[in-house]
């Protein structure tokens, strides 16, 4: 790890100000990606601005059909929340299967989606549930938030404050884990609601995306069989030592089918 200056701020305004003053600043939420990267000397920010002291960023709130999760809420809290469990059980389950207990007790929803790791779980849920990402500046639609590998619509000094999810008629997340890292080789989040079917896919491609072909098939016939005829473009898939593009494309369909079955 290289030297850096550390600041713990207690308000969003202070966080923004600190970022504007920093030469090469980084916000840190749970630090579950940031800190290992720094330890390996792969990142050398001049300033680390710790959002952990901003009380308003934590907590879970249910208002009618909307579940709003503060950006600094950790995965374990989401998994254990009876509010989330009753409103959107698939989301609680997803949170409860991220990483390991240490990661779940430090990692946050805001940190996860701001980092936008191509194999992270939350992006699939944000996309499929049509969530709204609330920041200190604006509201960003879930399926416009993730713009590329490790890239998001966030501006340099923009801070995620919370993520709002709408309840669904049925939802399920199926994840095929990398046997080493336990990140998603492929994760598929399927949601059925009054607006129709939405499918969020993570792990398969450089950035989480909506499975439009899958949605089209499932809107016509919400059954596992409907997935069989869908063609998943192999050339768009990630490929690495754990899974070839062809295998990933196959897994997208299998995970979708299993999520659909879990919805019914």
């Amino acid at each position: 790890m290289y030297n850096f200056s550390y600041q713990k701020v207690s308000s969003i305004a202070d966080a923004v100000e600190a970022m504007q003053k920093a030469e090469d600043g980084k916000f840190v939420a749970g630090g579950q990606t940031m800190l290992p990267t720094m330890k390996h000397r792969l990142a050398s920010p001049s300033d680390i601005i710790d959002l952990g002291g901003i009380d308003e960023l934590s907590g879970i709130n249910v208002d009618g059909d909307t579940v709003t999760i503060g950006a600094m809420t950790n995965h374990a809290a989401v998994a254990a929340s009876s509010d989330v469990q009753s409103a959107i059980p698939a989301l609680a389950k997803l949170a409860g299967n991220i990483g390991d207990p240490a990661v779940r007790n430090r990692g946050t929803i805001g940190g996860s989606i701001a980092n936008n790791d191509p194999a992270a779980d939350y992006p699939a849920a944000v996309i499929a549930l049509g969530a709204t990402v609330n920041t200190n500046k604006r509201q960003i639609a879930g399926d416009e938030f993730f713009t590329g590998m490790f890239e998001t619509a966030l501006e340099e000094d923009e801070v995620i404050t919370s993520v709002s999810f709408s309840k669904a008629d049925a939802a399920a997340y199926m994840k095929f884990e990398n046997p080493a890292s336990r990140y998603a080789i492929v994760g598929v989040f399927v949601v059925k609601s009054g607006d129709g079917v939405k499918v969020g896919v993570t792990g398969a491609t450089p950035c989480a995306h909506r499975g439009m072909r899958l949605e089209e098939a499932l809107n016509g016939n919400f059954s596992a069989d409907a997935v069989d005829g869908v063609e998943i473009p192999v050339e768009k898939m990630n490929a690495d030592i754990h899974a070839s593009a062809e295998y990933r494309a196959h897994l997208v369909k299998v995970m979708t089918k299993r999520a659909v079955e879990a919805c019914s």
């Binding site: 790890m1 290289y2 030297n3 390996h40 000397r41 095929f176 990398n178 046997p179 080493a180 890292s181 990140y183 030592i241 754990h242 899974a243 070839s244 295998y247 196959h250 897994l251 299998v254």
Partner: protein, 720 residues
Amino acid sequence: MAVLTGDDLAADGIGPLICGVNVTSDDGEPHRAPVHPALAQGKVNYVGDHVAVVIAESLSQAKDAAEKVEIDYGVLPSVTDTATAAADGQQQIHDNAPNNMCYNWPFGDKAAVDAVFESAHKVSSLDLVNNRMVTNPMEPRAALGDYNSGTEEITLHVTTQNPHVHRLVLSAFNQLAPEHKLRVVGPDVGGGFGAKIFVYAEELVVGWSCRKVNRPVKWTGDRTEAFLADAHGRDHVAHAEMALDENGKFLAMRVNTTANLGAYLSTFATMVPSYLYAFLLAGQYSTPLIYSEVKAVFTNTAPVDACRGAGRPEATFLLERLVDVCAEDMGLDPAEIRRRNFIPVDAFPYQTPVVQCYDSGDYPAALDKALALADYDGFSARAEEAKSRGKRRGVGLSFYVEACGIAPSAAVGQLGAGVGLWESAQVRFNPTGNVQVFTGTHSHGQGHETTFAQLVTEQLGVPIENIEVIHGDTAKTQFGMGTYGSRSLAVGGVAIAKACEKLIEKGKKIAAHALEAAEGDIEFADGNFTVAGTDKAMNIAEVAFNAYVPHSYPEGLEPGFDENAFFDPMNFSFPAGTHVCEVEVDPETGVVKIIKYSAVDDFGKLINPMIVEGQVHGGIVHGVGQALLEGCQYDSDGQLITASYMDYAMPRADNVPSFDVDYAPTDPPHNPLGVKGCGEAGAIGAPPAVINAITNALGIKHIDMPATPENVWRAAQSAS
């Protein structure tokens, strides 16, 4: 702050790292042993090779300085593939190893074997890979050197499985310091699995540089360094054939193996794919003729050496996979073909065609017990039920014999080892009656402190809480050979028992004098010396006190109650077992789930059954890791692409079921304690059990390890 290089090492007369076992190549010459400098001189041969050492006052200062060290690398083509390393036209890694060959080592009567194959009823054959593993002990390697300029002594704290071997090698071969001026300390080591047997560059450099800078020098490897520079394990490519008669009896076996030794020879690298591999190819079978040829090659990868099982897992995997292919080819049940070929119970001691003479065994007994434990007869019903859920069940059997209790010194000397492999013990009573047991073996997670204390309690009747087991410090313990090859109890335990016997003999003299009886009338049991037929008795603690305060004492007897013993075994010990693995394959994803795993082993007598069962569990998990998860991969440029736990999959609790473990012990006649050794068994038995289960589930001939979901999915596609 100091930056030191290979030139500095050479200028101080520090010798290169050595390999201690000779293997004679087919040209009659010794194996090719390239010079292995601790710090590279002019050429680096693998990613992880040691280039220079930076010594600073803090870790971050040292890392900053290391980034400023400029090395002008020219890039040479690299050789990483085992199968093609010796092919014509490959980049030559070492000048003295043409075709990147370390040795080509044939063993057996080729003409006789070939003749049997010519006329055999059936020949079954198989090509297979034994995947490279990273050993991955929980604690990474570390070294701390501390030079005392007053006494001119170097104290080297190091993660080692064998402190005296470290001292001997560093002293005799590396000229680090004379043996009496070098103390090696490493009592509490967080796991080894073989990787901490060897003498590494870091240890030599730390020991040398602390004297050079006249300050303590500490190095702690991080996990990345462990991946890059710890000795790796396995990495074979092999072709195996079995000649059978019309009844499925094995007539002869022929094996051709290429073993990757990495860029340089690690301390015992040469013996792993030779003596520890080919001499175990008979397994549990009475195959009369075996011919093996092992080609050991250099590549631009980390050195490969012993890793839990060392050669025996490779032999067992090859043989047990091949026998399953034989069963399929002959239309026989996998259990039945083994029964037809088992070494008969009344044939022990049994001389195999590959040097080893097995001590004892009852293979049918273990098989029967294992099949019952695994409910083998109920398998087809379970397979049907799984099929109704779209899953495919398979059951795999594996049978192994391993050579433990390493090793009879004369035997290993004949083979080319540079050391003897006896073990030592000292059992010392203190005047107040408590006991210190010094062992030359080394505990890095095996629980010797418990097992050896139990052994001494059984022998001497001293309460276990009054016994302390001491190991891991050359300044405390007598010379010993350390721990590997499941030798600690079978060799080191016997040395302890012999020292206890000496104490009892001496104690009888002391008690006889004190109790005014003839020595021949003294009996010893449960810690008490008793005059036979009377109630006159003396506890061993009182005897010890008398020995240290010899006011009234047998004439001519030395004072003190403290005995040494050395034990050199007559033979290896030969644990054996039957393992049965039942898997369920999800053909849609290729995920293999182990449903049930049953192991019935013959370890001889068990001293501490809980520790033994723990070793079996850990070994099986290690073997499951190799079979399903662990695959160390280099790319063609020589980069290790599985250099972290993000890419290298270690087995975890949710990868395995609860194990069913039982024993079918036999009594090894040459071992005074009747023990055999258990530390490696699971890692040897499990890989073929798992793979045989997968091939059975999918109805395929073979799948290489690790059987990753994608590979299994592809196999399922082609099979269906």
